[in-house]
Amino acid sequence: MKLDEFFVTGDPLILGSQIAIGLTMVGLVVLITYLKKWKWLWNEWFTTVDHKKIGIMYIIAGVLMFFRGGVDGLMMKAQTSRPNMEFLDAQHYDEVFTTHGVVMILFMAMPLLIGIINVVMPLQIGARDVAFPKLNALSFWTFFVGAMLFNISFVIGGSPDAGWTSYFPLAGSEFSPDVGNNYYAIALQIAGVGTLASGINFIVTILKMRAPGMKLMKMPMFSWTTLVTSVLIVAAFPIFTVALALMTLDRIFGAHFFTVAGGGDPMLWLNLFWLWGHPEVYIVVLPAFGMFSEVIATFSRKNLFGYTAMVVSIVAIAFLSMLVWVHHFYTMGNSAAVNSVFSITTMMIAIPTGVKIFNWLFTMRKGRIKFTNAMLWALAFIPNFTIGGVTGVMLAMAAADYQYHNTLFLVAHFHYTLIPGVVFAVFAGLYYWWPKMFGFKLNEKIGKWHFWLFVIGFNLTFMPMFFVGLDGMSRRMYTYSESTGWGPLLGISAVGSLVLAAGFAALVYNIYWSFRYASRDIGGDPWDARTLEWATASPVQEYNFAITPQVTDHDEFWLMKKQGRNTIKKEDVKDIHMPSNSAIPIILSVAMGIVGFFLVFEWVTLAAIFSVLIIGGLIANSFDYDDGYHIPAKKVWETEQKWRGDL
């Protein structure tokens, strides 16, 4: 392979990015070396097994990927802002919508949610860490390596261009011979390993490590949604693993699972993809529901309305989510019976979701609502998400779907579910739990700018898309003529995307401003909250709880405050056993990244040789007998005195 085939050349936009990426990397290396921070980075972050630090790394990566996916979105909006635009050509547009979809779902939504789960869930159930801290680090690093491998595609070799769904036969090697789709198959496979491991880790943590007295039905709602999401991950991700493995065999090793000519069936890919893909959207939305539940209860100053109904409805949503996947391809030519059954199961999902919406409204009823930024996001979620939900029921009707299928109506629908459902939730969660992670609050005033710009921009961007969709514009069209009459609406949509981007910029500015100027004197419980994570210092001490809390009922921390139980005695403090840092997860993940990179370019022999690194890393891990270390009781007591003050 020649060098000019290896690097993507000939497009000024991409050349600009290549130079920018090169300069940024050199700049970072120089800066870290200059500040002598390499050792600190390695010891404190890269090899850490602390769930809070891993969570923070997930969140940083998620925010960076949000930026990247957002730039993709802005480029699409610029291209369609006017008829016959010549900003991107068809190929470039195809690559941009593909990476936008993949990055936003798998490398933005997933890490932000898993990051917040990592930080909050163990604290909420009164645990010292997750069940398998080292596996948790491996989860993060495989995700990160997978994400980076996917991201370099646009400067090295070329990006995947068959859509985030990568349907065969287009995604097969006959019609997409370039390496782009290999990136899709390999990078998502590596990241998927981490997600599956996270799912298992969270299930074991919740089932085995809850504080004494915390029965499952007394567990905070966010932890409940984490449990159910994790079960869904374990159920659904293996399907994607298999589908991607078959895709890899087809593309790199000449198999024909999805090619008609070789006796395969491209529809099998659609079937497998959505068997994973539909549960996946509930995997991202359920933890978001949990976050809203916590935020709404805290800032309505009431306990959550209808706790049992909430639990039943998330379990019902999870159960039904495995039974609806055909609604993504009603038009594939299924029998009438198939379409009818899946139409009904799809509409049934609206029932438990509706139950949840009413429970949130009843939680707020007669509450003394505090309009903090976190609460504003939760309030905006309800009407916006309902628009997404109602249009979803329209799409659920198989007969009507023939009209909506693959139009911008559909695109507008799923942005109305995923942005209020997931992005608003992540923002609510970030504003709410930020003090727990970093020891200071984000600024409320700049936060209002962030909120209004983002919500207005979001509606301006996606509301017009419902109408051009009904008017016949199919998704993924890179250009259109003036006679279609779509120009004005798409122009509004493009302006909206700039407002949306300004909202994101306000968030970034808010983080910067608060990092520099916000008060550090906020105590452990700045919101007067209800659940156990607030019984710790801000930022949380490395061992989480000096003494494992005894749980008596829902909203345990609220009761502790009411009953004056929120103190500890010196004689109760014991040595605390902690897991040691480990370099194996990052080394193993980087090894997977190297092997993956060779597989992308179909250099199979090199990949096989470097696979020895992975196997070696696994063997080395089996002989790692490090049993961790102890923090002496005296030191624990000193730390507790420092933040509690009054002991």
Partner: protein, 97 residues
Amino acid sequence: MKKHFPMNHVIGFLLSIALTLFALFIAFETDFTTNVKLWIIGAFAIFQALVQLIMFMHMTEGKAKVANIINISYSVFLAVVIVAGSIWILTTGHAAH
């Protein structure tokens, strides 16, 4: 904690490889009709699943009976949905006629 050689895992690992190769052999190197091949491979798949459950998932060892029952029924539910559902969808559509 007593350390002993993980014999079950090694047997399970070898059996999994052998069963997979066997299925490949049946599919590529024999002259059975497609229908017979599918039945044989299907039988191997079920046997393989049992190997996984017993050798790796310790299905027979758990103390928590209720949890085991929930796990098994959920797994059966998933397997039926994925396998039977896929066959139903892919064999009854327009393309199949």
